[in-house]
């Protein structure tokens, strides 16, 4: 982003007043003695972009009275009738817009920012009607008519979602990102990114640096979310497939054996094991189908050779079928008994789970009570007797019980573990119940079939048709069953393909999940941070940072802030260094500039806005040499627009010494900042 020009227009009884300045492409120095309006200028500039929260205030409260109420003209206080500020800026694409925001106005809210297309201050603007955007209302960062949403898009940014301190998530605020670009003198030089307004984002400085450096951490978080969603989808499809398989099988009295209820990473088609419980023992679908086909062939062959009714043969078959029927009845009784037992156990488990739930809730209440009790300063909350102050057991009947008493947290864990165990057992039981129901239904069906067969044989014994009734019935039953089992076989074959495929998908998903960086930083992030460290150290050295050796300073991989040993590096009290406070300011310069340098380094793809605004960087009697080094660095940074507001200790000699041989644009004025305007603008 480029600042091109700013204009303040204040209507007064003495005619239009204000200021009107152009900014340079690279380093612009705004030179003004103390109390001549330097801060007014800086604050008005931030206000024009809706960024006044960087100064700690919201709305016109952030502005000095000179631009909103009255200013001094010689000895006279001149009242401001109405005023507004205009700011002309360009984005990376070269698109120029002019912002206008009212400061003191009866007809325009100070929450309104009008966006005019084109360079209305430095050249002809476009006559497209302006767009109106709003600030500081809930949603100004989210809704399309919010100014920050507009600015974010216009700057080509896409701010990431970040964690809130209270556990929710929110979009990173544009104001926080700006805080890495604009440093206001009162608070800005006390910390790295010290201006960042607090909107409830956890570790906001770190989030800003991560974003400006274009680290993958946000991508990683997004990718994690995507993989999790995919995992749930696979689990759902797996469960659906299992449900369908079980349903279809159950209708035929088949039972899938040892099928994983949840998605697995490898699944071999051969482990798809579906069996039918027959009196002779379990048989697979394939062999059951073969048996049916063989029976079919025999039956058809028999029907083609007409024979007279053979009573002895029929009698033999009758007794054989009766035996078979009795075996099935016995099996059915055993299975039924077992099933009743399971139903009773299930009720027991449910009761146990309900009791454990109630216990867990009570114990969690007790844990919370300890916190509330501590708030009320109840000594018992910290395990002390309120009267004698001695430690007391966390058990009213401690004297009556023996053995080590479980602590509250351990007790809660213990109950939860118990609950998990019971739930696991209940789940296992439920599977047995489902299987039992299928077995019972299958046996019931077999029983019905055999009874029909028996009655047909009995009728045959009294009849004399060529093709016996029992034979016909047997063929019909056989063909019916054959058709259904063949269809089921096809379904199984489809599962033989789809389940291993789903397992492979699941495996790929889990692998991708495993490959995500564990400690937030990916390899490319690590490289960026390494680059950042190098540039930061180099800057610190060139600004004469002396409190500690630059090579001892590191950037913590997690907080992304400078550290010395394990500690965040702040002001170091060191007798050898004249002013430790000014030394810390050098470190902040080094940090913010290194942030820009790293973000724009080839291959980093950061999100720096390519400008820096420094309000009085020469804090705490900063040496001329250091200040000069700073300005040299800023002037020499290709692609960076910097605007430095400085008083140069109110002396010409300091200004000359610091800026000697430096290329820069100068903005300065005599006397007060707000003065009669000599130019006119259509936007006034």
């Amino acid at each position: 982003m480029r600042f091109r020009a700013i204009r303040l227009h204040a209507a007064t009884a003495r005619g239009p007043h204000g200021f009107d300045f152009r900014f340079g492409e690279k380093l612009t120095i705004v030179r003004a003695n103390n109390s001549s309006g330097k801060s007014t200028f800086f604050h008005t500039l931030l206000y024009a972009m809706g960024m006044e929260e960087l100064t700690g205030a919201r709305g016109t409260k952030s502005l000095q009275s000179a631009v909103r109420e009255h200013f001094l003209d010689g000895q006279d206080a001149v009242g401001v009738v109405s005023s507004s500020v205009m700011l002309e800026i360009a984005n990376v694409a070269g698109d120029i817009i002019t912002l206008r925001r009212a400061i003191n106005s009866t007809d325009r809210s100070d929450k309104l920012v009008e966006v005019f297309q084109g360079a209305w201050l430095t050249g002809p603007g476009s006559h497209a009607p302006p767009s109106a955007y709003y600030l500081h209302d809930p949603g100004s960062a989210q809704f399309a008519s919010g100014f920050f949403r507009f600015l974010e898009r216009w700057l080509g940014l896409e701010l990431p979602k970040v964690a809130r301190a209270d556990g929710g998530e929110t979009k990173l605020y544009l104001q926080d990102v700006f805080a890495a670009h604009a440093v206001e003198q009162k608070r800005g030089w006390t910390d790295y990114i010290g201006n960042a307004p607090y909107f409830g984002i956890a570790n906001v400085r770190t989030r800003v640096v991560e974003y400006v450096l274009g680290l993958d951490v946000f991508d990683t978080a997004m990718e994690k979310g995507r993989l999790e969603q995919e995992r749930q989808d696979i689990e759902r499809r797996w469960a659906e497939a299992m449900g369908a398989l079980r349903n279809e099988a159950a209708q035929l009295g088949f039972l899938p054996k040892d099928m994983p209820a949840r998605a697995v990473r490898t699944f071999d088609a051969s482990s798809l094991n579906v069996v039918k419980q027959l009196p002779e023992g379990p048989v697979s679908v394939g062999s059951y189908l073969n048996a049916l086909r063989a029976e079919h062939r025999t039956l058809v062959a028999a029907s083609e050779t007409p024979t007279a009714v053979q009573t002895p043969e029929l009698l033999a078959r009758l007794s054989e079928e009766e035996d078979r029927s009795q075996r099935i009845v016995a099996l059915h009784e055993v299975a039924d008994l077992a099933q009743r037992g399971r139903v009773a156990s299930r009720a027991d488990y449910r009761r146990m789970i309900a009791e454990l739930d109630s216990d867990i809730e009570k114990n969690e209440s007790a844990a919370k009570l300890r916190k509330y009790g501590a708030n009320l300063e109840l000594t018992l909350a910290s395990g002390q007797c309120p009267v004698c102050g001695q430690a007391v057991e966390d058990n009213l009947l401690a004297d009556e019980t023996s053995g080590r008493q479980m602590g509250l947290e351990t007790n809660i864990d213990y109950l939860k573990a118990q609950r998990a165990m019971v739930v696991r057992q209940a789940d296992g039981l439920q599977r047995e119940l489902d299987e039992g129901a299928v077995t019972l239904a299958g046996l019931g069906r077999d029983l019905a079939t055999i009874r029909q067969r028996l009655s047909a044989i009995r009728r045959d014994l009294g009849a004399g048709e060529q093709l016996t009734r029992s034979h016909l019935r047997a063929i019909v039953a056989n063909e019916f069953e054959l058709g259904r089992v063949e269809k089921f076989q096809e379904l199984l074959e489809a599962f033989e393909e789809s389940l291993p495929a789903l397992a492979r998908e699941f495996d790929a998903n889990r692998k991708a999940h495993g490959e995500l960086p564990k400690d937030n930083l990916s390899a490319s992030d690590r490289a960026k941070v390494d680059k950042f460290v190098v540039l930061f150290r180099a800057n610190a050295t060139s600004f004469d940072y002396a409190s500690v050796q630059a090579r001892e300073i590191n950037i913590n991989g997690e907080s992304l802030l400078p550290t010395l040993g394990d500690m965040e590096l702040r002001q170091v009290i060191n007798a050898k260094v004249e002013s430790s406070a000014s030394d810390f300011v050098r470190l902040i310069w080094a940090y913010l500039i290194a942030l820009y340098e790293t973000a724009t380094f080839q291959g980093v793809n950061g999100h720096h806005l390519d400008f820096l605004l420094f309000d009085e960087p020469a804090q705490h009697s900063m040496s001329e040499l250091s200040m000069r080094a700073l300005l040299q660095r800023l002037a020499g940074s290709r692609g960076l627009q910097s605007i430095v507001f400085a008083s140069f200790e109110n002396t010409e000699s300091n200004f000359l010494a610091v800026t000697d041989n430096l290329t820069f644009d100068l903005i300065t004025w005599d006397g007060k900042l707000v003065r009669p305007l000599t130019t006119r603008s259509v936007l006034d």
Partner: protein, 139 residues
């Protein structure tokens, strides 16, 4: 050894404070009535019996249990100045009311106890309790 949550001092303290707050007029009660509530809160059937008694304005209970844990916790409550004790009556103090209000404000806290006490309400009077206890002496 796991500990019954009803034997955790703070939990029991909260239970007594809630009893006085929700079920006793002016946050004041005799020891006998506190034992009655303490005993009743242990089982749903007993809570049901108390709630019936409150509606019929007569206690149809012959006896109830006395819990040594309650005796201990009452000492703690008086020691913590949540309750005061005078003439055999326990009364909620300012701090005790504050504790009760804190517990009431957090909905997730002690849900069952709050519900049970709410069901019974303030209808179990000292007169009803002493009417029963006089029977004990008479026999």
């Amino acid at each position: 050894m796991p500990v019954l949550v009803e034997h955790r001092p703070l939990y029991k303290m909260a239970e007594v404070v809630l009893t006085l707050h929700l079920a006793c007029n002016r946050g004041k009660s005799s020891l006998l009535r506190l034992h009655l509530f303490n005993w009743a809160l242990k089982l749903p059937e007993r809570v049901e019996a108390l709630s019936q008694a409150a509606r019929q304005k007569k206690l149809n209970l012959a006896v109830w249990g006395f819990d040594p844990a309650l005796a201990v916790v009452l000492r703690y409550l008086v020691g913590s100045e949540l309750l005061s004790e005078a003439n055999g009556k326990f009364t909620l103090q300012t701090e005790g009311h504050a504790f009760a209000k804190t517990i009431m404000a957090d909905e997730s806290l002690m849900r069952k106890v709050k519900r049970d006490l709410g069901v019974v309400g303030k209808g179990i009077t000292e007169d009803m309790v002493s009417a029963v206890s006089k029977e004990w002496k008479a026999q």
